[in-house]
Symmetry: C2
């Protein structure tokens, strides 16, 4: 058996810890490598949150000699040994596909082990039988990463909304098609060109059928509908239309009428309890929160009777984002394995080590009323420079005998900005520092 080198202290430490919970992995591709990376890099934080270390046990792969981004111990080509290993408490399935994932997960649940999976095809097809088995064995099957990748949507639907009734869910559940539609919308190009760009950038596969024809989104829609309405919906129940027929003209005309076009997954329940689940291109009003979900991002918009409108937004795919969702599930599953009945603890935390406010970095919008005289801008710029505050943009508007000068800074230390403002107020040609407002969400 090929063995990768020991790769980090954290793993060595947690290996020998008493009471550690051991995760066995089925698969070590894009998502699996991300899971191993997070379990290693965040070992200390996870151990602190869980109360005990979470260590990586055996890892089943098809080809142990395959080059990986991360050093992996315990590689094996025999996936069954991972399921059978008495030291493995939680099985993490990140191999994808129906077979052999189905048999392996069934075997793990039958042994009473908790299972975490990122496999939307499996959950959307065989979910009912697997959940029934987990229930019968008193264990759990977690699958946050199987829907909308990194976006926490399962706990909100199952737990946070446990006292409410969901009426409708609208989701952008496929990043590839959202990227293509964003490009078509923002560059006015046609479907084929946008698909080519998505393929070049790695957002779309060489064979884009699963994404473009909405098979992927339909699987996720089935899972979301099940969670929203406490009823099983499988992928075959979902009406499905892809985006290949959407034209640049459609998008331009829709825009003129105040809409953008998105591939939406829709799950609705009517007053009689009948459910409709469908995935198709749809016009969405530009003022709707889903309209501003751009590029490869995903979002899930929920309409609940009491809660009103909720939206969850984030990355739908990618190694580390998806792994983040998987490891969140692993920590939950490990907690249940430990029979720790209380929620993640909030006691025993230290009081925060606070950064003094004057040390924080910030960008600023500064509006000055100045005398409209030669040399004013130079004097103002000189003050900023001497205080080590760099200017990003300046805009000046004359108003008879005076002018308004608007500056936006690059990120600068609060203390330096305050010194700058004090010196500006002392300048002869400055009548007033009219506004000072911070800028966020930009370059920091």
């Amino acid at each position: 058996m090929a063995r990768a080198p020991l790769d980090c202290l954290a793993m060595v430490d947690t290996d020998s810890a008493p009471g550690a919970v051991t995760v066995g992995l089925l698969g070590c591709g894009t998502v699996g490598s991300g899971v191993i990376t997070l379990l290693r890099d965040n070992a200390e934080a996870i151990a602190s949150r869980l109360g005990t270390p979470l260590r990586t046990g055996p890892v089943a792969v098809r080809d142990p000699s395959h080059e990986r981004d991360v050093a992996v111990q315990g590689l094996t080509t025999d996936a069954q040994t991972v399921v059978d290993d008495p030291e493995v408490d939680v099985v993490c399935e990140v191999m994808g596909g129906i077979d052999p994932a189905r048999e392996l997960i069934t075997g793990a649940l039958e042994r009473g082990k908790a299972v975490v999976t990122a496999n939307k095809e499996l959950v959307s097809t065989l979910g009912p039988e697997l959940f029934a088995l987990a229930g019968a064995k008193g264990t759990r099957l977690e699958f946050e990463a199987a829907v909308a990748g990194a976006i926490p949507i399962i706990r909100p639907l199952r737990e946070s909304l446990a006292g409410d009734r969901v009426r409708r869910v609208l989701g952008i559940l496929n990043g590839t098609t959202n990227f293509i539609l964003t490009r078509m919308t923002e560059e006015g190009i046609g479907f084929d060109l946008a698909l080519g760009e998505a393929q070049r950038l790695g957002y779309a596969e060489a064979d884009p059928t699963a994404d473009v024809d909405a098979f992927d989104a339909a699987q996720k829609a089935a899972i979301v509908a099940s969670l929203a309405f406490d009823q099983h919906v499988v992928a075959d129940d979902v009406y499905r239309e892809g985006i290949s027929a959407v034209t640049a003209t459609d998008i331009a005309l829709a825009r003129r009428m105040g809409y953008v076009i998105k591939l939406l997954a829709i799950a609705e329940i009517d007053d009689g309890g009948r459910i409709s689940v469908r995935v198709h291109p749809a016009l969405v009003p530009v003022s709707h929160p889903l309209a501003s979900v751009r590029e490869a991002f995903n979002a899930v918009f929920v309409e609940g009777e009491a809660v009103g409108e909720l939206m969850f937004y984030g990355r739908g795919a990618g190694s580390l984002p998806t792994a983040s969702a998987v490891v969140g599930d692993l920590v939950s599953a490990a907690r249940s394995t430990l029979r720790a009945e209380r929620a993640p603890a909030m006691d025993g935390w230290p009081h925060a080590a606070l950064e003094p406010f004057e040390d924080t970095l910030g960008q600023f919008f500064i509006l000055l009323d100045v005398v409209d005289a030669p040399g004013v801008l130079a004097a103002v710029a000189g003050v900023f420079g001497s205080c080590d505050v760099s200017i990003k943009s300046v805009w000046q508007e004359g108003r008879q005998d005076h002018a308004q000068l608007l500056l936006i800074t690059h990120a600068a230390v609060e203390r330096n900005v305050q010194t700058t403002l004090r010196r500006l107020r002392e300048l002869d040609h400055i009548q007033d520092v009219a506004s000072v407002i911070r800028v966020e969400g930009g370059e920091l």
Copy 2:
């Protein structure tokens, strides 16, 4: 003791159920009435999710004769009896303020009872001691409604991101100020006018200090920072600036530079583990997801190392939205009271009762290539009318010998729309039904 009349079957049923979990309420104002309404209206769904009924026990109020939106049983003016009642398993504190909530919650935790609170002032001030007490007594203190009202943010931060590291949180945590800034932005009015409008519509109090000067947002920011970084931050640690100095000119100039102005709560951790927490008005690029959070909505934007960018959006206040968050916590707390160790079950669900696709309601965008001749529009409109599909808007553009006709329908039955399309294709003057795309997020 005043007693409201018995008001619904569900409560009578659950009263007598064996193994029911009983909730005692402290307070029955806006949020408390919402909680009682949801526990009553959704009793069946909650019992099914929890495996046992969740019944309402005694309710402590200041004035039992006060008129309420909902009929309430078990009113008492002696809050201590709710805490002491051996039948009460979970105490729900929705009275607000520090005293006497602090003493009552402390008493409940000391008796090992789970507590659910919506009290941001209490959690942001005395959180550390209350969580320590809950931990020592092996019980739990839940507080989802204390931050961003109805938005599920606590489970995502504590559980879904348990394997990740949060670097930064940007939040719009106060609906009143976001409403005021939205009005100033969209109508070009000044702060005083916008505040007056917010007061008239019930979004702002007669004394708006807590909202406008950002005391409310600072309390929520302290809680969010604690959850994000596993360290206690209290409201006094938060740097705070309100929005009353923001002018219409600032907003107009910011807009010209590609920004909107929001009251942001910001929590950051640097590489050395030092934390900065602050609330102040900030310019946000219009392309940032937070920029499109309008009116009284709240949002929390999270930057995690592995997960990338996440955003959670929803109502920050209001009776039923806040109550939805409280009841979600009550179900979780009840589950832990029952020592039910597994996650909310997904087994035992029925297969969904699906609505046939042709029965679904939908709005449509229909693009037709037509011969540019008299009578075409009348013929087209006639087909729609005869199929019971109502037209919302029409737009026609001539192109030499032919024209494009774009129609957006009102909500119509799928089957009728398909019939319409079939008949349109048979019309002489129609060369092509170029596009048919559904419209969502609008009038349905």
